[in-house]
């Protein structure tokens, strides 16, 4: 196991990619705080699955866009766990629309959760990690943050922002033994992508050299690598997990 005895906090971990990340970290030996925004029942299912593996786990509600809520979440986690070794910023939403039709509220919602949320959570865990002189922060960006994507101006701007934030925080915290990296998933089958039409799905498939959609497990494996000692000499990087879509 790569993460025996480590303590992790994963945001947006009640379903989709976040759920798989939480489970995979646990399979590798980590104890996991499972953050959710709304789906308490699903978060509790994830917690039970992790506990069944013999690890400590608990669900914790928090809207990552709200600074008081984030501060309270990290405080609870540090009270429950002796340390926070791994922070995975995964929570995200979409409000897709063409730029010309995008409402200001759609822009704000996505930026607040997907970009400001990463800032707030990262800032909050930095304190315990600096004291520990070690830590792994892993931000879930998106390949569209690198390539752009019509209909997702808000989401793309937020994810590109996360990639820039990753590089900057990596530079600021490197001297304290904290690494900060990002993962940019491509087309991964999840609740968030199931809403896309068949037409869009087949158009996207034609652009993927490995000619299949990704599975949440594909992302979770790379996150585990970044959380482990195997990636000790990497920081500020964005790893594309997209079947070769963007090179």
């Amino acid at each position: 196991m790569l993460l025996e005895g480590k303590y992790a906090l994963v945001t947006g971990a009640s379903r989709g990619i976040g759920k798989e990340i939480a489970l995979e970290l646990a399979r590798q030996g980590a104890h996991v705080a499972v953050n959710y925004a709304g789906s308490e029942a699903k978060a509790n299912e994830v917690v039970e699955e992790i506990q069944a593996l013999g690890r400590d786990a608990f669900a914790i509600q928090c809207d990552v866009a709200n600074s008081d809520s984030v501060t309270a979440m990290v405080k609870s986690v540090t009270e429950r766990f002796p340390r926070i070794d791994i922070m995975v910023n995964n929570a995200g939403i979409t409000r897709d629309n063409l730029l010309m039709r995008m409402k200001e509220s759609e822009w704000d919602d996505v930026i607040n959760t997907n970009l400001k949320g990463v800032f707030l959570c990262t800032k909050a865990v930095t304190r315990p990690m600096m004291k520990q002189r070690s830590g792994r922060i892993i931000n879930i960006a998106s390949i569209v943050g690198v390539s752009g994507n019509a209909g997702q101006a808000n989401y793309v701007a937020a994810k590109a922002g996360v990639i820039g934030l990753t590089k900057t925080v990596a530079k600021e915290l490197a001297s304290r033994g904290i690494t900060v990296n990002a993962v940019a998933p491509g087309f991964i089958t999840s609740d968030m992508t199931e809403t896309l039409t068949d037409e869009i799905q087949s158009a996207m498939l034609s652009q993927i050299p490995l000619s299949r959609f990704g599975d949440p497990k594909d992302v979770a494996g790379v996150v585990t690598f970044l959380a482990s000692e195997a990636s000790a000499y990497m920081t500020g990087q964005t790893l594309h997990v997209d079947g070769g879509m963007v090179m």
Binding site: R127, M130, K131, E172, S175, R176
Partner: protein, 77 residues
Amino acid sequence: MADVLERVTKIVVDRLNVEEAEVKLEASFKDDLGADSLDVVELVMELEDEFGMEISDDDAEKLSTVGDAVNYIKSTM
């Protein structure tokens, strides 16, 4: 309770790896004691723990010398 200056001095010596004699009231963390911005952030974190208090970001920015820190801590006690 040990003197505030004594407790602050101990933390500064540990954190910044300086000699106790260098930690004078007028000594600037950055200019005289070789701290970088992140060191000062850490120093403030340790002072918070040592004295069981919270120092807001706005207040923390004003603490540039050992004396600033000692006076700030005394003013909140």
